[in-house]
């Protein structure tokens, strides 16, 4: 059963690396927030899988719970900040957006 957990963890880490492409290259800041939110959801699952592999669930479940809470709060805070500042394109990408 441990090999199944290892395989699923490796697959999810591969998907996290693919999501990182969108975080690095996304056109707007909000795209990056969506990507980071998605990576956070994957991290919650991976933490619990690590707990199962190392047979120490009682410690990792608390870490995963705290990580889920922090992920939600960070997303809300970033959204509120960028809604106030009213600017979702990075400095060097404004010109590219206006030119197109």
């Amino acid at each position: 059963m441990s090999s199944v957990f290892l395989a699923i963890s490796s697959f999810i880490i591969l998907l996290m690396i693919m999501t990182l492409v969108r975080v690095i290259g996304g056109p707007t800041v909000l795209d990056r927030i969506v990507g980071v939110n998605m990576i956070g959801a994957k991290t919650t699952v991976i933490l619990l899988l690590i707990g199962l592999i190392y047979d120490d669930m009682s410690m990792f479940v608390d870490i995963a719970l705290a990580y889920a809470l922090l992920n939600f709060i960070a997303t809300l805070g970033a959204c509120k900040f960028f809604r106030r500042s009213n600017r979702v394109f990075m400095e060097d990408e404004v010109a590219a957006e206006e030119a197109s």
Binding site: D31, V45, L52
Partner: protein
């Protein structure tokens, strides 16, 4: 028992993959948000349900407590993930991100 856990975890990984493909391939911010929001919630809930079920393979008090905590994470994700998606959408709409339109012979 092991079969059910494997099916749940594989379903979670499958929906994570769908969400990742959606977030990479869709042309527009709102479409990407659609893929990320739905697939992410479903995949996290499926995977966490599989983990909580596997954790009950021997029935001690500590294991039941840990499974209850995983259930708490499931309930929290079920409430919080759509809320976060809604907040991102509202921020994008108020800032003025334009929805994508299909142009005749234009760029995608």
């Amino acid at each position: 028992m092991d079969l059910i856990v494997t099916i749940l975890l594989s379903g979670g990984a499958f929906f994570f993959a769908i969400g990742t493909i959606g977030i990479l391939r869709f042309p527009d911010f709102y479409a990407r948000l659609h893929a990320a929001g739905k697939c992410d919630t479903l995949a996290a809930i499926l995977s966490l349900a599989g983990i909580a079920l596997y954790n009950l393979h021997d029935f001690t008090f500590g294991n039941i407590l840990v499974s209850c905590k995983v259930l708490a994470i499931i309930i929290f994700v079920f409430i919080a993930s759509p809320t976060a998606t809604h907040a991102i959408t509202k921020a994008a709409l108020l800032v003025g991100v334009k929805p994508w339109e299909k142009r005749k012979g234009g760029r995608a």
